[in-house]
Symmetry: C2
Subunit: 329 residues, 2 copies
């Protein structure tokens, strides 16, 4: 049983983390037993938590400024899927004995940048000595008008299915990180890797979908698996057309070189795009919301009666998709 | 990069964790992207987070039902130190490949028992594959009347200093867990080990101290270190008398066999008792609060002008105490 040296840990918190809490008085400068958070009248708090570990979710030598942003953004993406406005987060860090010089500075610089971009503030957490590898834990808090949060459970037969942005880039980016896809241009490889390392949560879009979408989820486990989650909770089925799924230029280049990558992209995780269901009558409002949020939105299929997700290939045949993606708690 | 098998993880959540969320509709049966929590009018949310890892904070073969209760109770103790009423918690688990049969059942049975005892409900979390050792992360939420939370910062010169319960049992319990203190009776060893493995957060006492105490903290880093935290944040000093510090029968037996253990007990961590400061005029109210909560409360010293913690031995001489205990984020 050992702990980081007291002075080291206390100094570490006051030097690196306390400045990140300055905008929220209820964080008490990270010097109390807990934080307090006031929730706006008529609103409720939306709470989500993610853990990530070296060797499981990221490479131990990934740049620290991308690691911190990835776990923060993964949580922001969950808040976006509920239509919540980001407020605050608590951070847990299990740190290995040896960190590269400047590692914590870079880790916190990534957080500082994202705090400014997404309007969220550190309010507390815990740092411990890791038994072995770096492990991150983050709990994020957002606000939503009471009872209005977007849910996975409201999809109905006949609803349109939309996705934001482009799909599959992160799954390809992971292949790039592993040294694959060398047939692509350097620019395409960089673009895909960036999408894997630093996703872009659709925060504003989620908020604008409140009262418009019948169901929403963020795509973290893969398009097919996450649509399956909506189907399962809403007790409906879904049919999407692979040819309608929006791909980036880099992903199109990869698919054209290796057509079998398409199925990998439809089932790979880490897109952190929003998957949205909405009745046809709401189509105008959905399009307006995406336009106002300056996010591309593409209709890719239809909610059906029944159960399960069917993916149709360009020739109209049903694609056989292995149950893909991993699931989070 | 690997993840638990999808079905295994999904089933694991629905089988073991979803039942723990049943009392809170905003947990959405752990089947949505996030949870939602409504905060009572005129109240704010109190938020605390702790991480614990095998080999650092506990032994990998500790009983799972004590591990789950220890991390939950450590967080409940932080809520108690703010005077907050427990509401809900989110749980992060990094699980190694191989768990003993029944491990998760026992882990969750411990949570279920404590949920019933402390009136708190699971609302979300994340399970991941651990890179190596078991790591736990827990974020707990309580409610407190807005602006009324107990703080570390309100102590004033002349205030009385109190502690709840008895001090040092957990530090001795850790020695027992390591195979030391064999001179004690078996009953004493069992009692000390239990205090180390399953602390008792002073939830009701904390709530009853609202408006009575000038400052409070829970003793997790050790009595001297945590009193030092109050002094530092409140910009005061403190003087306590070692002879006034309440000890259990088992601790008295240990101290009488080995007097040098006293300093170890004053600086060891994991007591999870409340350390309270209050003006002398409030003494009656403080005593009433402890009586109503059915918790022993003992005055051990006085807040002073200046800075730092002085500990007086029974002979009136100042004890030289090594800066003890570890500090949490």
């Amino acid at each position: 049983m050992s702990e980081p040296r007291p002075d080291t840990e206390f100094d570490l918190i006051q030097r690196h983390f306390a400045p990140l809490s300055a905008a929220e008085t209820g964080a008490f400068a990270l010097r109390d037993d807990a934080a307090s958070l006031a929730v706006a009248s008529g609103h409720e708090l939306v709470i989500t938590k993610d853990m990530m570990a070296a060797g499981v979710h990221f490479f131990a030598d990934d740049p620290p400024g991308t690691l911190s942003r990835k776990i923060l953004r993964a949580n922001l993406s969950d808040l976006a899927a509920m239509g919540a406005t980001p407020r605050a987060y608590a951070l847990g860090l299990a740190l290995p004995d040896k960190l590269a010089p400047g590692w914590l500075e870079d880790f916190c610089a990534g957080l500082a940048a994202d705090q400014a971009q997404f309007g969220i503030t550190l309010i507390g957490g815990d740092t411990i000595a890791a038994p072995d590898a770096l492990t991150l834990s983050l709990t994020a808090f957002g606000e939503v008008p009471a009872g209005r949060a977007l849910r996975r459970s409201g999809a109905n037969g006949g609803d349109d299915i939309y996705v934001s942005g482009t799909i599959g880039d992160a799954a390809l980016g992971l292949l790039v990180a592993r040294g694959q896809l060398e047939e692509l241009s350097a620019a395409d490889r960089v673009a895909l890797l960036a999408r894997y390392q630093v996703p872009l949560p659709r925060t504003e879009l989620g908020q604008r979908l409140l009262g418009q979408a019948s169901a929403a989820i963020d795509i973290s486990d893969g398009l097919v698996a996450d649509l399956g989650h909506i189907c399962s909770v809403s007790q409906v089925g879904a049919q999407i057309e692979a040819a309608l799924v929006p791909l980036s230029a880099a992903a199109k280049a990869a698919c054209s070189a290796t057509p079998s990558l398409l199925a990998h992209m439809l089932t790979g995780g880490d897109d952190y795009e929003l998957l949205i269901c909405a009745p046809t009558e709401a189509a105008n409002g959905i399009v307006q919301a995406a336009r106002a949020a300056e996010v591309a939105l593409t209709r890719i299929g239809t909610v059906t009666e029944g159960a399960g997700v069917r993916v149709l290939a360009a020739d109209g045949e049903e694609m056989r998709i292995e149950q893909g993606g991993y699931r989070h708690f």
